[in-house]
């Protein structure tokens, strides 16, 4: 097992090199001045410059050197997470991403359980009650969720939970809580307001942060359930027809254990990939849901950057996603090995 993880870790730098090269290659489609914006440290550097000075800047950052030299120069900057200045966020790209990430992380952490576990749970119930009314009901329910565009369902949730019931507001914090969080007495340990609220002994703040998470979580869960449910259900149905399931029953294993011990572990192997991708999707920010619920995460930042053609920020987020994806895949592969002994020795 350790050897397997070590082997995977050794491949990691190679993949990252490939990924960064790909991003760099795509950057070459921009003209040098646009590319330049990914290098400069503050807008002051660009302002009141004549065409002549631009040439100097191109020179300064080596944008006329051979491609490979440029790549390694740029890679050094990437490794320092020095990605230029974002016009949209009015701060360096690094700070723009790092300041939004805790919000996305908090949403992702709280959404993972209902989204993934809920979908798997529904899928198993569906498979066990195959073609019975319960199965039909769950499937219809899920297909509706799958077919609804997120902006429709999101707005519906917002309307019901906030507009009608006034229970779960949009945003990340209420104004009064925001003031507490911004005050110097409140220490930001993690950037996750629920956790920080508890650590600071301000349970009212933690509760307020939680209330703001409910809407996005309900939206994400319902929209993504169908996907994970369908894979769990079909995988579970396939496994339930395997002979080792008959064997387990023939050995006198109670039906509950047949399903939750013998069938589930096998059925979850294909689900793992999808669930992992969903977690990565959550960590990368969910553009529409974040926008509807006015939630200041990475997804909304990415959307704004794209709308405003803020190249440095787009590139920064691309690299951030790439790293996330590579690391996430590593975690999924390790989980595979944990679940399936056949993977470990390959």
């Amino acid at each position: 097992m350790t050897a397997y993880i070590l082997r995977r870790l050794l491949i990691l730098p190679v993949i990252l090199l490939g990924v960064t090269f790909l991003v760099f290659f795509m950057m070459q489609f921009l003209d040098p001045v646009q590319r330049l914006s990914a290098y400069i440290k503050s807008p002051a550097e660009l302002k009141s410059l004549s065409a002549d000075d631009l040439e100097k800047l191109v020179d300064k950052y080596g944008l006329n050197k051979p491609l490979l030299v440029q790549y390694f120069d740029w890679l050094k900057r990437v490794l320092r997470f020095d990605l230029g200045w974002s016009e949209v966020a009015h701060q360096p790209v690094r700070d723009a991403i790092l300041s939004r990430f805790p919000a996305t992380l908090e949403l992702a952490l709280f959404a993972v359980f209902p989204v993934v576990w809920g979908g798997i749970w529904l899928g198993i119930i569906s498979a066990v009650n195959r073609d019975k009314p319960l199965d039909q009901a769950i499937r219809i329910f899920a297909v509706i969720g799958w077919s609804l565009p997120s902006f429709v369902f999101g707005i519906l949730v917002l309307f019901l939970l906030y507009g009608v019931l006034g229970l779960f507001p949009p945003g990340r914090l209420s104004l009064w809580a925001q003031n507490i969080v911004s005050s110097p007495d409140f220490k930001l340990y993690t950037g996750l307001y629920v956790v920080d609220g508890i650590l600071n002994g301000r349970f009212d703040v933690a509760l307020d942060a939680l209330r703001h998470l409910v809407g996005p979580i309900i939206t994400l869960s319902y929209l993504w359930w169908a996907f994970i449910l369908r894979i769990t259900r079909s995988s579970m149905l396939e496994v339930l027809h395997k002979e080792y399931i008959v064997m387990a029953r023939a050995k006198g294993v109670p039906e509950k254990l047949v399903i939750h011990r013998h069938a589930k572990k096998n059925a979850l192997i294909p689900v793992l990939t999808v669930a992992g991708m969903m977690v990565l999707g959550l960590l990368g920010g969910v553009v529409i849901t974040e926008t509807i619920f006015d939630y200041p995460g990475i997804g909304r930042l990415a959307a704004t950057a794209a709308q405003q053609l803020d190249y440095p920020l787009i590139l920064g987020i691309t690299i951030f996603y790439a790293f996330l994806l590579v690391l996430g895949n590593l975690v999924i592969d390790v989980l595979y090995a944990v679940v399936d002994p056949r993977v470990r020795l390959e």
Binding site: Y244, M247, A248, A250, G252, P254, D340, P341, R342
Partner: protein, 321 residues
């Protein structure tokens, strides 16, 4: 001799969209204590469904629609789910044909054997169950049992897995072992080892065996009594000597003739003409009549099961007066 299991007029039908498939139709036989009963027939004749019916594990859309299965004096068809679960794996165990697919790939061999103990005896601690599993693994002839117990099915050869499955089936000292083609997927040399192992353990654990196979040579070697199945019916049943020396039913006759023999020189091996009719299209009357060279007018009606000599029954009009 005492009867351990008696199957009476068992009917297991499959309710398919195209019609009702009578996979097991009015089958009766019994197994004495300490006996190996061989059930033989071509594939699709209902052997496996008979076995699964005894376990009450017939897959949907199959259903047991009639008959009785008397085990230790009680009708298994009247048992509740929980009573039946308690019998499975403790009093009646089953081993299957394909050891490759019958063991759960994500649990170790030791886990799967120890689990068979714990589900029936919750008072046994996991460590003790594990020890007993290791002991049993050694008993079925797997070397290095302590290490092997930690291994997963994919790390073992077919023969090893079949041994592991036998260990799993015998761990609770069952009264009846149902073996559904246990050696079919194995090499001939491994086959012989497994058969010998089963016979030895049967003696040691004083169990009876219902041995299902299409291989007559295995039946001749190990069983005491034999039932020949065709088209969901037992067409002939008797002790192994009378079946092999004095086969009565034309189907049994054909089966025996299609065995290669060393003492007779033949240019070409005999084969029964035609193939087993599909579950949904059995002919009226005797189900073998379309392939039978001795068929005559009476065969359009269903023949009764008659006792021709003591303990030797046949279902054929040739022997009914």
């Amino acid at each position: 001799m005492k009867k351990l299991l008696e199957v009476l007029n068992l009917k297991t039908y499959f309710f398919l969209e195209e019609g009702v498939g009578k996979a097991v139709d009015d089958v009766s036989f019994f197994i004495n204590e300490g006996e190996i009963f061989g059930l033989v027939g071509e594939s699709g004749c209902g052997k496996s469904v008979t076995a699964l019916s005894i376990m009450r594990l017939v897959p949907s859309p199959g259903k047991i629609v009639g008959g009785k299965i008397i085990f230790e004096g009680e009708n298994l068809l009247e048992k509740s789910y929980e009573e039946m679960r308690d019998i499975r794996g403790r009093k009646i165990s089953m081993i299957f044909q394909e050891p490759m697919v019958v063991l759960n790939p994500v649990y170790s061999i030791g886990f799967q054997i120890a689990e068979a103990i714990v589900v029936h005896y919750p008072e046994v601690s996991w460590d003790e169950a594990w020890e007993r599993a290791v002991y049993m693994i050694e008993k079925v002839g797997i070397p290095n049992p302590r290490r092997r117990a930690e291994e997963y099915p994919y790390q073992m050869s077919g023969g090893m897995r079949q041994r592991a499955m036998i260990a799993m089936a015998l761990i609770n000292n069952p009264r009846l072992l149902i073996a559904d083609e246990p050696t079919t997927a194995l090499d001939v040399t491994v086959q012989a080892q497994i058969l010998e192992l089963m016979e030895r353990l049967k003696e040691e654990y004083k169990a009876s065996i219902l041995f299902i196979t299409h291989d007559l040579s295995i039946i001749a070697e190990i069983s005491h009594r034999v039932g020949v199945m065709y088209g969901g019916k037992i067409v002939e049943v008797g002790d192994v000597f009378s079946i092999f020396d004095r086969p009565l039913h034309p189907y049994t006759f054909g089966l025996l003739n299609s065995m290669p023999r060393l003492d007779k020189e033949e240019k070409r091996l005999y084969s029964i003409p035609g193939s087993v009719p599909s579950l949904l299209s059995f002919p009226q009357g005797c189900r073998f009549k379309d392939r039978c060279d001795k068929a005559f007018s009476l065969c359009d009606k269903e023949p009764p099961l008659v006792e021709v000599e003591s303990g030797h029954f046949v279902q054929c009009w040739l022997f009914s007066k």
